[in-house]
Symmetry: C2
DNA sequence: TTGAAAGCGCTACCAC
DNA sequence: GTGGTAGCGCTTTCAA
């Protein structure tokens, strides 16, 4: 920039102002400077600019994997959300700082906040970190988490209506004549817990003759949920439908059922949750509860920007939609 | 830091040195400063430090999506690689700056380089951007791309042996008695092109009675590859095996076959490529060519650091392994 | 309108 | 060993 000033024969102040589009610098001069900058391929050092402006122009996106012992980011659902977040963030001219945190979970949130690497933080999924989030939210405002809304939580969440979505899915199964419906998922994760509640609500309001609720605490990982399902099949054969807490779990269930010689949906109907891209392309195509991740990501980033500007925001619950395919 | 110096009653220079663990400052004094820093919850402003040190301590990871018209990051394969990259990068104390670039592709690489946001760049998949990479590599060294090795390319790639992997997969099909094998994939993408060559090589060296090569230019997207497959099925019924250029394509193929009343593997055997986490959990479980992404990510980052240090590095081709499951 | 100069928070050179 | 001081590349008073 000093070079540019020398070339243009003006002060650095003027160059800085011109580049910022300030009306303080004469039109003619500004255009000349802009022209020169382009010509010489000058691009601003964002780092220095940000230091001076006391900002980073970067948002952190953290994925806590406390509920999964496996290392890799396995759930396509998270990935899709990630992609949309990347879009929403870059659309605003910000950078995205991606961070994965796996057990043993230390004070990851605290250190991320104090490290000052970003102007705001979005956490994807509460995982097992409800307390950490609760603590951090007390003194750090620009934080939005994707997940289920917990009673009396003090941090801001965006998520779909897990309970209603789950309920609709189970009601659909009941409507199709299913009476012995099993829930697959681990309620230790807040979102899953809410889906379980929706499942219970649907059963309670179902017709007479409904079998009592039964659940298998399947993990979100494909491998383990398959094993969980197989074990369940061996022990209790009596059910005609499965509501899985995620599409990945549902897909594992379908496979476990097939391995046990059961046909989907004839013997057992299966419904998932998420509507990941692959859901339409499994065999058979999966009935599932769609979450609009594009809207979700947009909402997260909108709220985060509001919070960065000092506004306080309430949590948002987005609607879901049941997508009926051949698995039910 | 100035505050800390005042509190400790020393100069900022000493604080800086103490925090950096410099042996220039007396042991006792250093420990006192460290103690004070901890006590007061002081954390360094990485931004200022990096500005001074003329570095960013950040690596860019770019995913060009030129070959996919759809917006979201659909392929679980990329995501898994992403997760491993995030590990490898954070292990080195660097940050990961994630960038998705979609059509229309401008001079994304050029502007990323000149923007000075990172100390090095990794590009995931060549997509349709071979020329852009070629051009950038001329004058920007800390660049490593995951993908297929092209003849006479001047940029550094890391990838698996696509040709050998594909060949092994097709030879496996031949061994299983299949003679009319179709290739599914779009050779416009370098990696896929190499897999196609492996397919051809296997056919050429196959026993007499092999049907001539046939291919469907299926896209990497699940939706379109399903449509591509359906269209193909309608037109030419005569084949007994499919080698798909990716697991996602293979899964779509399985579904298309099922929809056409064909059984996998009885009527048609299917083999994929990648061994994504879901591959073991499809119905039926997918035979596929495994790429070790953990090793891949490690290698990418190793090479990138070497290049950042000024070393020139050759491209690396990693071995693959055929995983035989029930789909073949 | 313009330019000089004072920092943003840190490191490293210099002299003591 | 230690402490001044001059920047890293930019923005923004403040005076002219």
């Amino acid at each position: 920039m000093a070079d540019l000033a020398r070339i243009a024969g003006v002060s650095v102040s003027s160059v800085s102002r011109a580049l910022a589009g300030s009306p303080l610098v004469a039109r003619e001069r500004r255009e000349k400077i802009l022209e020169l900058a382009r010509e010489h391929g000058y691009v601003m050092n964002a780092q220095a600019q940000n230091l001076r402006l006391r900002r980073t122009q970067t948002l952190s996106v953290v994925i806590p994997l406390g509920h999964e012992s496996g290392q890799p980011l396995t759930d396509p659902f998270f990935v899709e959300l990630l992609g949309h977040l990347a879009d929403a963030i870059t659309d605003r001219g910000y950078g995205m700082f991606l961070l994965k945190v796996v057990p043993p979970m230390g004070d990851w949130l605290e250190s991320l906040i104090t490290s000052n690497r970003s102007d705001g933080i979005v956490v994807i999924g509460q995982s097992t970190e409800h307390k950490a989030l609760e603590a951090a939210a007390q003194r750090y405002s620009p934080l939005v988490v994707w997940g289920g809304q917990m009673p009396r939580q003090s941090y801001c969440t965006v998520g779909t209506d897990n309970k209603a979505g789950a309920r609709a899915a189970v009601e659909h199964l009941i409507e199709r004549g299913r009476r012995r419906i099993v829930f697959l998922g681990d309620p230790a994760v807040p979102e899953i817990k809410l889906r379980y509640q929706g499942y219970l609500a649907a059963l309670e309001n179902g017709p007479r003759g409904m079998a009592p609720p039964r659940s298998v605490p399947a993990h979100l990982l494909a491998e383990s949920s398959y094993a969980d399902m197989r074990a369940f099949l061996d022990e209790h054969g009596e059910f005609d439908a499965v509501f899985a807490a995620s599409d990945v779990i549902a897909m594992s269930a379908i496979r476990a059922l097939a391995a046990a010689g059961l046909s989907v949906p004839k013997d057992v109907a299966v419904v998932g949750y998420d509507d990941i891209a692959l859901a339409a392309h499994t065999n058979p195509p999966l009935t599932t509860v769609k979450q609009d991740l594009r809207a979700g990501a947009q909402t997260i980033i909108d709220l985060l920007f509001k919070r960065m500007a000092g506004t306080t925001t309430d949590s948002v619950i987005l609607p879901t939609r049941l997508i009926v395919r051949q698995s039910s």
